[in-house]
Symmetry: C2
Amino acid sequence: MITESIDGVRLTTKANVYFDGKCVSHSYQLADGTKQSVGVVLAATLTFGTAAAEVMECVAGACEYKLDGSDAWQKSGPGEKFSVPANSKFDIRVAEAYHYICHYA
Amino acid sequence: MITESIDGVRLTTKANVYFDGKCVSHSYQLADGTKQSVGVVLAATLTFGTAAAEVMECVAGACEYKLDGSDAWQKSGPGEKFSVPANSKFDIRVAEAYHYICHYA
């Protein structure tokens, strides 16, 4: 199931711009204070570090990702999620666009 | 006054990507159904067309813009707004980043 919209959020208006704009996200808070962000990774191969653990949920497009310590690229498409541990990193490669929700676990 | 966050919105999770990612926005609806978007224009000179009239409100960074039929570039910075008529266009040039809220008038 694809999460197309999220209700009742407090949206931060200023975007987060990473890697010269290859990744752009907007942060928000749910009614219970939970922080998340929605974003898009454009055509690129990038490495992201994590502080908190994250769950990346695809809402459109697709990516391949490789968790730290793994040699296997895995695909993630609309409705699919993958988890990244805290204080870790992952590689992501995107051919066109990968639209996501980032949940902090 | 800078609008740093907006409460109680229904956020569309998929981004809008324009001009190969030089402009990325996320759309949302206010509780009363009003549609708006938050976005960022990165370093570029672009021309945007309008269908509905728009008010562009800067929340961070800065741009220069030139309305259709004008020869004058005007600056817009945090807390400032400019209006664009329906069925028109405007040029925008950004040195670093222009973070905005787009209101449809």
